[in-house]
Symmetry: C2
Subunit: 289 residues, 2 copies
């Protein structure tokens, strides 16, 4: 089964567990709306690719970890779009969850997705429970306080921010969770895979900052120039456009170099180069490749 099929099947199974008569119908509909159709599914792809490089001896657990990470990513998008944060009207080319279902549902959808992620993970670990504590702790650390994506979002409310720490938490942490969880799900040593996730995560955030500056709403399915509007720290504001492009190239190169020696390393390198091309803004892709 290819990565896309595995990821969408696992996500669908998680969503279907909420779609029963006992669930408030609006909530069930809003949860699915937040998850499908999705974006590039970069994080779960990365998780699957690392697990494959490590042998992937329990594919059900890998699928659970990959989909849990994507579900948490979707949760963060729903809450980040809320009026008290970005007040975004569009997400992935359609109205944001709070615009489509109201603010109360959007808060609950994000909450329910966080819970769903951990439930999905636990279900996938039924046959290999000894791998569950490490997976839950890794994914929780990458999501909550003190250094996960929630902490990253909270940094935006602080008077003094260190750009790299902010990016590490807001984006890098869930990418690191993707690589580390891929290894943990396959029973491999996770520490060798942390750097790959961190570098790719920071690269993705720098690419997003460049995107934000360059693009217009039609191109990326959400309003642009948001960093400047919300006075958010960004790589382009700190380093300038050229400096940000240089940083992006350096991070991608460090990411590829960090891949440890393992049977599937060459294939993984190819997957990562292809995936990173998808998030490098058009027009500078050639320079960054």
């Amino acid at each position: 089964m290819d990565a896309t099929t595995r990821i969408e099947k696992a996500l669908d199974a998680a969503l279907e567990r909420a779609e029963v008569p006992e669930c408030p119908p609006k909530l069930a509909a809003a949860i699915r709306y937040a998850v499908q159709p999705g974006g590039a599914r970069i994080r779960p792809r990365l998780c699957l690719a690392v697990a494959a490089a490590c042998g992937d001896d329990h594919p059900a657990l890998t699928d659970a970890a990959a989909s849990a990470i994507e579900i948490l990513h979707c949760a963060s998008l729903v809450h980040d779009d809320l009026p008290c944060f970005d007040d975004a009207e569009l997400r992935r080319g359609k109205p944001s969850v709070h615009k489509a279902f109201g603010e109360a549902q959007a808060v609950l959808v994000g909450d329910a997705l966080i819970v769903m992620a951990f439930e999905t993970l636990a279900r996938g670990a039924a046959l290999v429970p000894q791998r569950l504590p490490g997976l839950v702790m890794t994914i929780a650390r990458s999501t909550g306080a003190p250094t996960g994506i929630i902490a990253g979002q909270a940094w935006e409310s602080e008077p003094n921010i260190h750009l790299s720490n902010y990016h590490k938490a807001k984006t890098g942490s869930l990418f690191a969770a993707a690589t580390i969880s891929g290894a943990l799900a396959a029973g491999a040593d996770p520490d060798r895979w942390r750097l790959l996730g961190e570098r790719l995560g920071e690269a993705y955030q720098v690419a997003d900052d460049i995107h934000d500056l360059m693009s217009n709403a039609e191109d990326i399915g959400k309003p642009s120039g948001q960093d400047a509007i919300h006075n958010r720290p960004s790589a382009t504001a700190e380093l300038g456009f050229g400096g940000a492009v240089d940083r992006l190239q350096l991070l991608l190169s460090e990411a590829v170099q960090s891949i440890p020696q393992c049977p599937g390393a060459q294939e993984l390198r190819g997957i990562i180069i292809a995936a990173s091309k998808a998030f490098v803004p058009k027009g500078i892709a050639q320079r960054a490749a």
Copy 2:
């Protein structure tokens, strides 16, 4: 160690993990504010009492389960108080989290607490990982969609609500998680303990509805008459005052009768009768006892 000490110590350890220089300081402060000082800690007490009745062979896991459930309860209070739900100014006699720290922090505090609950659980299961999948699934089911406290809150946005289903999800589910998790943490059969949690949970909700009608803000530390203001379904609105009191008595009696035969059953009965007296509104306590 007595129950209060165990619970507060476990909660404190979870909070301290967020209180490091890497965490945005406002977020760390707001997280602690949401958890301490707490309310009656009824759910974790119930969890500890059931675990004790089942032998409590891994107290660290019991403490983790009890504190995870209390952390999720605190998360639900922070989000339920938000302007898009109850818009409550007070909670436990002090300004609600969004009044004290702003709406953005309140959303993030709730999110971070949900994640913290599962991280706490996983840490407590390091030595008995085979008990973790069941615990995560039980606590997730009682929290998220389709039938947990988040679904309970979502029912308030639906045009047609079944009062008992709504109460089961909004309050009963986390009480059921408390009893079932107490058994699971001690390696005992959890199914024998479900009814106790469900009946106590519904009793607590009916008592809260009676409270809401009877009390004023000074007595319960939050504004009263909220059910009527928000046009929420309530036991007093559906059954009348006398009917609600009768229902409360029936539920408490069924709860105590449901306690399975086990070494600590008598002691547990005493704990539950004492705990239920704490949430029965003054003035009808004598009639309900």
